[in-house]
Symmetry: C2
Subunit: 224 residues, 2 copies
Amino acid sequence: MSTQTPAAGRPLIEILPESEVSWLRRAARWRTFQDGRMIHMRGDTRAGLSFIDKGCVRFGNPGTDGSYVVASTMGPGECFGEATLFADLPRTHEAVAVGAATIGMIKREVLLERLDASPVLARAMLTVVTSRLYGVLHVLDDAQRLTMPVRLAKHLLQVGAKGIVSLTQQQLADRLGVSRVTISKALTMLAEEDLINRGYGRILLRTGKLRNFVEARNTLLPIG
Amino acid sequence: MSTQTPAAGRPLIEILPESEVSWLRRAARWRTFQDGRMIHMRGDTRAGLSFIDKGCVRFGNPGTDGSYVVASTMGPGECFGEATLFADLPRTHEAVAVGAATIGMIKREVLLERLDASPVLARAMLTVVTSRLYGVLHVLDDAQRLTMPVRLAKHLLQVGAKGIVSLTQQQLADRLGVSRVTISKALTMLAEEDLINRGYGRILLRTGKLRNFVEARNTLLPIG
DNA sequence: GATAGAATGTAAGCAAGTTTACATTTGAGC
DNA sequence: GCTCAAATGTAAACTTGCTTACATTCTATC
């Protein structure tokens, strides 16, 4: 439904032309973080753009009660830290390496200078930040307006392009910011409607029916 | 606490130099919408950048049950529609004029061309989109981690710079996406702690104590 | 295969926000 | 000053997601 350029929702490295990518790689200071090591803390103000070459980075924050709220997880090709470049805002989330993560970091001044000389880089960054913004707006919107089963169905469609989602219920719970029990109940409902098949560590989707189900209770389709 | 450039969180028109502003004004096709008229619908795909000269624009969506969820309201100097420029995404929210609203609209191709030639415009747009993204991330984060009184306190501090918030409880409820009853209860709690004084259509803040209260239960201070 | 750790299904009680309802207070306009 | 619509305070019943708890099912690995 939503007519999209191939660029929407894709990581920075993928939408940049080769020349820019190689510049980024050369300009970066490279560093590898072992699994579980902290890349930056919430509130950090050191400014610069980071991008992931290998491994993943998990963003989140500890709750006051000792719980931990995962905001998102990024993988190879994705970048973060834009807010420190343009808005001079402190980091909103802790960043922790998942697996050994190799991260390239470019100093603020260096990147801004390149940006002024490279319209294609500017466009790409605008694309990345804009689609991220609208993704988050969707999430916020959905959280207020949709029931759990619908939110879950939407997320499953986003994640499981080929009709299979290889995630545990706990991982789904983290992504949607709810408890595992809630996910389990919602999956039961979807299964009763014959929209999915539950498995161990994975879920099989009846993509067509599921899509109808989501569309019927509103909203634009997932951005994914 | 959060060291900010003056640019963060401010509308596009204010952070652009005069030359760019006058270009925008000349390049735009101007149109005035009477109070309550629809500027665009959810799902619209016509691409272009819009900015507000006079009046306000309210963004929101009808719920399936007939209710209406307000996402935000923008005023003079602010722009919208970036997602149609860079990510080619359909509009996520209805836009409706509040008061007579004069809107300038620039076609996608025209703006993109200018953008490639004008680093300062690109930087400004990146600043706007990035701070908006991080504002939304904060909201999402807060919704999951903070209790109502704290969320409300944070919002009051953002809105009421001079120690006074001239909003009804219903308006606050719309902004935080909760019911009026919940706002009323939260205000009662804040008043019992002597952090605010409730009035009719307005709330007086004891800014210092309120700020302490929010800081004590975590989080970075409001971006506003 | 046997087994232990991980993942899942489900129930009970709790917490927080919603809706509905109604009494009270406020302030703008006559 | 009076009046009335708007705004506010509060209670009751309901909904939904959370936590805790425990039984069951699955699968990697010995």
